[in-house]
């Protein structure tokens, strides 16, 4: 069985790797998308759509990664059922909603974006449910902590 602390550390490392990937793509997205959609698929108009959509989504991805890393750092400090984590979940959910809306609009121009639209919308819903469970757990913990 994987140790709990190891699991949190592994997730944290993956978040940092994902952040590095995001930074790399921020710097080289036009080149990568031009290479793929113009050079490889011969779809120049799609390259522009994908690049613009990507850059519009980047701030939300960055916020989501920041919230994930902050949450994981709190979990490593054994601060799990705290209101800050509930706020982070709410923020993550709204980031997913934002990406859902952006890709929903972009999907009109380039159909495969609808897959991201559906996935992010579904993930936003899952996060809302987890956020509600967390909020309830925080309430229960508060009540328990304040029972003398």
């Amino acid at each position: 069985m994987i140790k709990k602390s190891f699991s949190a550390t592994l997730t944290l490392v993956l978040c940092y790797v994902f952040s590095a990937c995001l930074a790399f793509m921020c710097a080289f997205a036009p080149t990568v998308f031009r290479w793929y959609f113009v050079g490889y698929r011969n779809l120049p108009s799609v390259a522009v759509t994908v690049t613009v959509t990507f850059y519009v989504c980047v701030p939300f991805a960055a916020i989501a990664l920041y919230l994930l890393i902050k949450t994981l750092l709190r979990i490593k400090k054994r601060e799990v059922l705290v209101s800050e984590n509930v706020s982070a979940m709410r923020g993550l959910s709204w980031c997913c909603v934002a990406v859902c809306v952006i890709t929903g609009v972009a999907g009109i121009i380039y159909f495969p974006f609808f897959f991201i639209f559906a996935a992010s919308g579904f993930f936003a819903l899952i996060l809302r449910v987890i956020k509600n469970v967390f909020a309830y757990a925080v309430d229960v913990k508060d009540e328990n902590d304040y029972t003398i």
Partner: protein, 67 residues
């Protein structure tokens, strides 16, 4: 709402928070939560220990006031 009059009963018995906390077996921090009315609930065992130590009734410590 329920208000806690523990500080009044403690003053009548001339007992400090540290001393009472030590005698009833809870931390001074928790006793402070109870005294300041931040507590959401109190265990019967804690109430019993307080009443036993301060020689009083639960009604002396807890009071119902209409909002």
């Amino acid at each position: 709402m329920i208000t806690v009059n523990l500080d009044v009963v403690m003053a009548k018995n001339k007992i400090s928070s540290l001393e009472l906390a030590d005698k009833i077996g809870i931390t001074p921090a928790n006793l402070s939560i109870l005294k300041t009315g931040k507590a959401k609930a109190i265990r019967f065992s804690t109430l019993e220990a307080i009443c036993n130590e301060l020689k009083c009734q639960p009604g002396d410590i807890l009071e119902f006031k209409e909002d």
